[in-house]
Subunit: 309 residues, 6 copies
């Protein structure tokens, strides 16, 4: 029988060590369809730190999640065996060593036949996840919900930080630029040539004004048109407006509402998703209600339901 | 002459012991048309506690309320004699004793010919309020703004907590299911059978996607079509999105905006309202701006204006 | 060569004493096109204090601003020489002396041929700014984003506080009522006669329901129709909903979203703007993410881009 | 029979509009021995604002106070008739008008034969209190618990702010320098001549090192030796270390502990006290536990007990 | 081999689901010497709620604990097999059902031959713990660190809340009054007769002035003199001053310092301790540093070391 | 003439871009005796991040500092020319590159004949500071105020993080172990062999119990006895108890009070100090009062005064 969340009418939601959605925590991946795994690393952060505390807070706030999605009409835990696979243990002081640890653990998950839902951590962690998944599934399509394009080239002379990983992913052949769409892009940029790389590789940008003017349904159609084949979702919580997600490191005003965000993720159902992540939850910048982690938990649940075939 | 809020151009808003809308605090109900009463009880809470602190914080933040509603074109304090009737004193450690205390005090208010606006406290307090009001007014229509249906059956083997009171209200004959509409429902559920009780009793759900897709005007029409006869409004602040109302115990993302919420309440004008409540404000989960209590105060003001005939 | 923000790929955003948009701080106005100047004064506040801390927090959070606006297609620092001109030093304990200090410093800026972007401080500071600018540019048009009309007459028998300055500005002939539009007005008022002054002087109100019902594009058209000739923008952050701007002194629910706010400011491009302000950021009422100051910084950037001809 | 706090075993501490120590709120001073009165004014503040919010927060946190002092062996409410006399309504925007309002209200209290316990507000409010009390009782002795001497001369050319009132009090003959002691003084100063005024008027300073090195008992002896005749206590909460009282505007490290503070106030018993104040509680700078207001409430209780003869 | 905390030089302290001291979480008590168990119940709270969130926060903050106590010269995990035994699942809405659940689980632990360290939860939970332990070990000695005596009789007509459990424990014969000492008592009381029960049953009070005046060493001697035979420690975090432990429901100023607290617990080494608890940590009242939970974790560690024989 | 802080009676403390002690910010070191320099780097942090935000917050809170130390009887700005030398720009993502940047900038300061006061940043930054200063002054004596010994060997196989730098400093010959004293050490350790390195190199530990039992005066004597010759002070703010310094990454309970801390630093006067640092201020873990940064600013001022010969 599949893992089930602890029943909240018999064990209070706030009780017991916090795990993702109150699921069992296990290192054993046998029979697991979906492994939720934390990556508490924020050494790639250029501004406000603290995404290392994201996995624990998302675990805590995901205690509210229940077992049925009445909008998708799906009971995910009946259809998929889901587990809290614990965290990767990335060294805080070296991004290269952290990348190796992440790649290795995601590789184990993929090799065990499970699909990972990764909870960051800053956005730099997506690169080693893509490395591990592309190794198994081949070049991937990618849907990115984000305020930022994250295709810059270097930072203080280095190749890795939370603003360069999608350039690296294209360069390393992990992602197919023509099957790659970025949704929610906005905010001040550095110059018009920030988009040269997109033009060169056929990456599509759906900026925030397009989402607001053409609507969520159009945006979903656009995503589904572009992101064919084996695909990955990366959800930077700063794609959502700071009103709904204040707890993040690089907030950009004028973003998605939480209702738009949930609906967009819901629209991914039916894609050939090999995994996904929710990143950049930085709890120290949220208030005591921790609404950012609550939102991340719901994005995770909506994505989990979208994984049901 | 009717009670008037202290004049803010002669007494600073932040001065004096805080009362609802800076109105006089009195236990004497003679001549009172509308009694605003706090119910600082949160012993029915299954997750985050603290709604016991709601009445004091709503009092504090309601200092911003002024005397004229330019959208409804009504000056409520000229038309109704309104008072801060203090709080019920519910024992924190026994829900049964708390229910008795609430029922008794609301009964006094109703007997004095006043309509109560109740400020919670967790949502479990609505049941004894309905008991007292149905005793006087007969079976009631009900409009519920909420993320949650709150018609579950039991909790740890008990009948009362903040997720069961509307099943109890139907079972006890206090509310007519066919004149009962729930607006804003969303979030993960337990299963499709969560709605069996609704079908059995003719309760209408207007879920959040319906509000967002069909609009506020349509939703108001739907409410007015259903909620005929003597009616009660119960406003769970978690009906509103956590961005606008982070200070609550069971937040659900993807909810109403504050503008939608105010307009929906405005749309109740002309119904035969016998009272109403605003519940689940838990100030500890809000930030220092206490925007949830500010919103609750404005919902209260908008509802007060809607009570003017 | 124009001033440039410190380059964030060589100097971390969180490093160095915080200045507006990481620009050089200088008292020397020679060659400056746009002077960003703080006015840390909140002695005109009738409710929650703390806008005196606005300039420092906006400086801090404006570290996120970059150099290119991809929606306006403009690189403002290439087109305008912009500087952090420091703060006015208004005495906290006397509004008259504060007004003199503000008037004098804005006069210097105008005399040097620079346009000021003023960061408050409470809204009462706009009056001496208008005095200095009208002295140079003649009677001004005015676009005001705000929840409140701020045209009341007196407060505790005095002429100056943050609710009277636009009555004073009309009375003193600084602003032409017929070229004056207020956008986003909402919330409880004192009475229908609050608008008598508007009728007498031809001031236009676009209330929040008009913005929501007719849309941002219509609102921009309305602004551009009314605000002809030399004009000033005053942006009270409480024009935006408390969800997006909790850090303010007099929050009113049901307001603009941050996306609407940014687009409205963008719509000012092409007007004959002689300056503008962003006021009423009160950081103590925000959470640790300081999203209100982040929003103010982006409003400032969008306005700066709109100043490019 | 004397006023009694609401009984907390029958009315929960967090219930009802908050009044000082859960006492009745009344404007009627007949038969009152001790009137606790708020002065929500912070227009004399030179640094962090917010003491205007002190009275409401101290009311809120004083709900914890009980009825018996087992260290002083006194039941104050049996011995004195104590009331919450509400707040003075000082205009926020004019220190002169605020002073007039305070002086008038304290004069009423004194004329009614009651002794005032004043809850600020910033420290500048003590001057009009002293004016009213000296008018009735003649020149006063003064014990000041504080980090700062507050005997500076001017601020931006003005005579009144929260750093000059004790120079004014001496100049106006309200306080006798030889019966005036300042306890807990510390922190950076402007120069050695800061103490010239003390030498000239015979004011005694017991700095923090003296308290720490010689002890609380010695300090009490010193106070009792100096402060003879009709006397007033002024307790600036920043006399206590920021660890124990973070919620204040001008914190100075290295101060009194809360245990030392309570004991020092206890040591005033038997002096001819005509009133006292607790000032500079600025709740926005405290955490959610509001320990500064809790401390202020206990200082108030200890002082009340010390008023029993 | 004994359980060991995850090694922090190989797994970052902030990684993985939080357990007490980073120990394995297990329901299996075989071979366990010390079982750390959470009791997330706060339904006995009369003032500020939120101690239900204590166990999760103490788990989180206990990640800082290391493996060696250089003051006691003991490596506890080498000497004792310690586990995180999870939480009891007490229903939030019924104190009687909660007591049954707690009693049952502590009974299991005691029956398995393990000594429990209980993390609350409000102080009312200590009664069922004492019931389970006295059933196994006979009448117990008791050392209580606390601001409050907690020997009141009734609350709103009920027998159980967080102020009555030690009267109940004496009445039920669980604790021997002559082997019972209360340390740190202070704050306002209800009357001199609050201590009648102490006199009747031979309970010793060491109030805060005795601790401060006579010192920690004397206090330890007094404890060791009184608490002979099988004994239990109950540590209410409000025994410590709110500066060091703001995150609690009923703060009393003038308390123990953290250094005094740790030393007092250290002084228990050698007593015949059958278990202990740390209660009343209410994280919502603490700041983001959560220093109260950090202190609780250290009290727990110091107590664990004191359990080594 | 020496630099002077902006005069707070003419420019409000909260006005103008924040610099250390309101001193001029300059990159020009000519004629500077003491250069206060920020190092906003926290990439060496093993637990809670955020010390990168320390320099800006300490600048902000140091606005309270005045110009005269009445306990040391010294006016430091009359005796020393002090400047805010801005921040080093360390790349956040590489500790090696960060070390190079720090070493280079401190070397410039030393070469210019100025003594640096460094504001961190996590404690790992002290190593490159010592490298630069030992290059100029030869092997240094060291007084370290800290809860932790920071002489561990490796972290995840790397040589640098905030727990190894004093082992490195000894190994590299920068510091003489026999002239090195650590004050305030406490908290759980890993094992007795944590002190082997101390014994081998003659490093002295004055643990917290020695400070509390023998007193501050004895501790100062001990420091002065050991730390002869050219010497450096490193002040980890976690040497102070979390009650007084909650805003830090690795809090340890039972520490120094702020009064003890200030007095200990005062006791360094007369040593041959070549510089010093205050590190590990992590503002996100403090409350809105930011008392940790206030303390750091006062430690900085006290140390500055101690530099006067």
């Amino acid at each position: 029988m599949n893992n089930q969340p602890r029943p909240s009418f018999k064990s209070p939601r706030f009780a017991q060590p916090a795990t993702f959605m109150r699921l069992p925590h296990t290192d054993d991946l046998a029979g697991v369809d979906v492994a939720i795994v934390g990556v508490p690393y924020d050494g790639g952060t250029s501004y406000r730190p603290g995404a290392r505390l994201g996995p624990r807070e998302v675990r805590h706030q995901s205690s509210l999640i229940r077992t049925y999605n009445s909008f998708q009409k799906v009971a995910p835990f009946d259809r998929l065996n889901v587990a809290d696979a614990g965290d990767v243990d990335p060294p805080p002081v070296s991004i290269e060593k952290a990348y190796d640890a992440i790649d290795a653990r995601i590789g184990q998950i993929a090799d065990a036949g499970a699909r990972p839902i990764v909870v960051g951590g800053d956005h730099s962690i997506t690169l080693p996840v893509l490395r591990a998944l592309a190794r198994r599934h081949g070049q991937l399509g990618l849907v990115q919900f984000d305020a930022h394009i994250d295709t810059w080239d270097e930072y203080f002379g280095g190749k890795y930080f939370h603003g360069t990983m999608f350039r690296r992913a294209i360069e390393e052949g992990l992602v197919d630029g023509r099957r790659f769409v970025q949704v929610g892009i906005r905010g001040p940029m550095y110059g018009e040539d920030d988009f040269d790389f997109h033009r060169e590789h056929g990456i599509t940008v759906v900026d925030i004004d397009q989402v607001k003017d053409r609507g969520v349904a159009w945006t979903i159609d656009e995503i589904r048109r572009i992101v064919t084949g084996p695909a990955y979702m990366t959800f930077d919580i700063d794609g959502v407006d700071p009103a709904f997600a204040p707890g993040t490191g690089t907030p950009e005003v004028g973003g998605l509402t939480s209702h738009e965000a949930i609906r967009l993720v819901r629209g991914l159902r039916g894609l050939s998703l090999v995994g996904g992540d929710i990143v950049e939850v930085a709890p120290l910048f949220d208030g005591p209600g921790q609404i950012t982690a609550v939102l991340a938990a719901n994005v995770m649940f909506e994505f989990l339901c979208a994984l049901v075939r």
